[in-house]
């Protein structure tokens, strides 16, 4: 599904290298987790994959089902099935959440040569998905993320994901800021979307989330590299011992 090879990324504005050769392969239907200390480059990796400005790829490649991601515009990557749940979702004043969703859904359908979803079908779909995530009608009408609590923003990201039905989902610290109940809701939302043709890359600091969303593979990222890859136990090890031993081992 997702294949990243030797990916090196610098900041565009200043001479600073953030990713220093990332290798990562996520197979179809798999759930991978990435853990790692603050500032190790996890969000940068997710931004570069989704096409944010400000980064310069100096080496390596990233493909989604064989298609070169790095060559596409952000919206083309989205239409190809890539989705990023932002660590810090963006507020868009004056644009209704529902409007935003419908515009996004139809933009992707159009890009794939499908007909637009009718207003009725769309509404039915949103309501059902929102209900699962305990997002009330009021929140659907409000402007995108404006005045949403931290946890509400995260749930809203998952709602977008559920509506867009991507095949490669990257979740950047979606668990941060969620209370215990919301964490369960979000995990259930994610688990409901798990399927053979859909893969997840879950960036998190906590084992807690991985109790709910069981990963197949866990990667540890540090200083712009994947320094260790293992099974679900690796997350437990981090939870118990921190990163010190792993970092020393990698040296």
């Amino acid at each position: 599904m997702l294949e990243i090879k030797g990916l090196k990324v610098d900041l565009e504005e200043e001479e600073k290298s953030i990713l220093k050769g990332v290798d990562l392969t996520v197979g179809a239907g798999e759930v991978h987790a990435i853990m790692g200390p603050n500032g190790s480059g996890k969000s940068t990796l997710s931004y570069v994959l989704s096409g944010k400005d400000g980064y310069e790829v100096t080496a390596g490649s990233a493909t989604l089902d064989g298609a070169d991601l790095l060559d596409m515009e952000p919206e083309e990557r989205a239409a190809a099935g890539l989705f990023l749940a932002f660590q810090y979702p963006v507020e868009i004043p004056g644009v209704g959440n529902m409007t935003f969703l419908r515009t996004a859904v139809n933009a992707q359908r159009k890009a794939r040569g499908q007909d637009e979803l009718s207003a009725g079908d769309f509404l039915k779909e949103v309501r059902a998905r929102a209900k699962d995530l305990k997002i009330d009608a009021e929140m659907l009408k409000r402007p995108v993320n404006v005045g949403f609590s931290g946890g509400e923003k995260k749930r809203n990201e998952i709602l977008q994901m559920a509506m867009l039905e991507p095949k490669m989902c990257i979740l950047d610290e979606t668990d941060s800021g969620l209370d215990v109940d919301a964490m369960k809701l979000v995990s259930e939302g994610v688990n409901a979307l798990r399927s053979e043709g859909r893969s997840f890359l879950v960036i998190t600091h906590y084992q807690r989330l991985l109790d709910h969303i069981k990963p197949d593979v866990v990667h540890i990222m540090s200083n712009g590299r994947i320094i260790k890859t293992g099974g679900p136990d690796l997350a437990l090890e981090v939870e118990n011992n921190g990163y010190a031993d792993l970092l020393a081992e990698a040296e």
Binding site: L84, V90, T99, A104
Partner: protein, 507 residues
């Protein structure tokens, strides 16, 4: 006033728009010119003979001609105002046509077959439905087989009004909606009583010129206690080359009445700038309410700033009676140069004025627009919400005056003035003038300037929208409060226009 407290989000509106936007492509949609419509011109230039000619073409009575000539004499002694933040090439006022009309309108047609098909074609391109085209073209009886659609339309093509729809139904309600030339002939007592009482012929350079040479425009009178049964709407179109369009609109809302009036404008693409100098006067008596909405989409000139409409307009509402209300809403996306300040004279006690504005300037467009709220009566209230968007090399200025007179005790104004910049070569300017001459009134002014945020655009694009769609969405969000103030049909058109006029402003 309802609109003051209303913050409800109309979810349907912007969705429809995004849909509409998706369907629209190409830059200036109304830019064709119907050069093969045969026109009847008066000679170029302006002088007392031209003024007389216009008056006689409209079969006006002597008093009207005298009024025009007095205005002309005054105009000759005036000079072009230069205080606005606009760079305008000198206009040679003697090198313009002041009167042009389609030849086919010399004798009113009796059936659709008699109407110049070119004229009908133009209406069709403007999106005016076929049945209404027939009515506009003056075909007798066409009104009877109209489907449900409650917007009466008056269309002004260059200098003349080519017809008004729904006259009969309006008449039943007692509402007079016709061209101003017809009103001068048929309702001289009303015209005499009100014309020039809000914008006197001496008001300013362009208004004075308009008073001398206005060729047509719309007239509305809503009698006491009547709620106008439908929206009234006027389409203005400048077609002929080197022609100035000088319409005159006069709206009178008598005691306790209500009317909502829409104005839409288009013009063909021409390399040479065209002049538009209109005057709109609104009189609002006790307990009456008028909503006036404009979507101005004149040709803005090309990417290099060549051609386009010079739009110098004087619009003013006089809230004469106690508790009267006026609401101006404008979406200004077109014109090379816009110079426009719809104003409210809040004379009656407890009267209220509102001004909602979106002004978009792209490429080399220049917009200098805003409002004047003149508080004369006690406990008068006004609200100003201005959204200025600049892109390309455009300059966008908000110029507003809020004046509280000594007798306007306990009056209030709230002004919110937001500017949005797209790119780094455009400019936004805010010039608020505030005068408070009593100590019980309150004036609040808030102003912000921001850039279209890259993070917002990336967020939209990461969800699958292309760059232009993303910009349109973010900008429509920025304008939300104003779009909500528009009647439904107009709101959709306006949102689509926002997207079109910003095409090519990013990337």
């Amino acid at each position: 006033m309802t609109a003051l407290d209303q913050v409800e989000v109309k979810e349907g509106v912007d969705q429809e728009t995004v849909d509409a936007v998706a369907q629209l492509s190409g830059a200036y949609k109304y830019g064709w010119n119907d050069d093969d419509i045969e026109m009847d011109y008066a000679p170029k230039g302006v002088n007392p003979d031209i003024v007389s000619l216009i008056s006689s073409k409209n079969e006006e009575p002597q008093w009207m001609l005298d009024w025009r000539q007095a205005a002309f004499t005054r105009w000759e002694g005036m000079s072009v105002p230069n205080w606005a933040m606009l760079k305008v090439a000198d206009i040679d006022f003697q090198d313009l046509y002041y009167y042009a009309r389609p030849k086919s309108m010399e004798v009113k047609p009796k059936s659709l077959d008699e109407v110049d098909p070119k004229l009908l074609e133009t209406y069709k391109k403007l999106g005016i439905p076929l049945k209404e085209q027939a009515i506009l073209a003056g075909v007798e009886g066409a009104e009877n087989d109209l489907p449900e659609r409650k917007v009466a339309v008056d269309a002004v093509f260059d200098s003349v009004s080519v017809g008004t729809t729904f006259q009969a139904e309006l008449k039943k309600a007692g509402v007079i909606f016709c061209s101003i030339s017809e009103a001068i002939r048929e309702h001289p007592e009303l015209v005499k009583k009100y014309l020039g009482t809000v914008v006197p012929p001496s008001d300013n350079f362009y208004a004075t010129l308009n008073s001398a040479v206005f060729s047509d425009g719309s007239f509305v009178y809503v009698p006491p206690g009547v709620r106008c049964p439908m929206e009234l709407s006027t389409y203005f179109r400048i077609n002929a080359e080197n022609t100035g369009q000088f319409e005159r609109t006069l709206i009178i809302a008598d005691k306790g009445s209500y009317v909502s009036y829409l104005e839409g404008c288009t013009a063909p693409k021409r390399d040479v700038a065209q002049l538009h100098a209109a005057v709109v006067e609104i009189i609002i008596e006790e307990d009456a309410e008028v909503k006036y909405s404009t979507v101005q989409n004149w040709y803005p000139g090309d990417e290099e700033g060549k051609g386009g409409i010079y739009n110098f307009v004087t619009k003013r509402a006089d809230c004469r009676g106690a508790r009267s209300k006026v609401m101006w809403t404008q979406v200004e996306t077109g014109s090379a140069v816009t110079w426009k300040y719809p104003s409210c004279i809040l004379r009656g006690d407890d009267s209220q004025g509102e001004f909602y504005s979106i002004a978009i300037a792209n490429n080399y467009q220049q917009a200098d627009t805003g409002t004047k709220m003149v508080h004369l009566g006690k406990r008068t209230k006004s609200r100003i919400v201005s959204k200025g968007i600049s892109a390309g090399r455009a300059q966008n200025t908000y110029r507003g005056l809020v004046s509280m007179h000594p007798k306007a005790k306990e009056s209030r104004n709230y002004t919110q003035c937001d500017s949005l910049l797209i790119g780094s070569q455009c400019g936004a300017h805010t010039v608020p003038y505030i005068e408070v001459k009593n100590n019980s009134s309150r004036v609040e002014h808030e102003a912000t300037t921001s850039k279209v945020d890259d993070d917002q655009l990336f967020y939209c694009r990461s969800r699958g929208m292309d760059e232009e769609e993303a910009v349109a969405l973010v900008v429509n969000g920025f304008c939300k409060e104003v779009l909500q103030a528009l009647p439904m049909e107009f709101a959709m058109e306006a949102q689509a226009l926002v997207a079109i006029s910003l095409e090519g402003s990013v990337g």
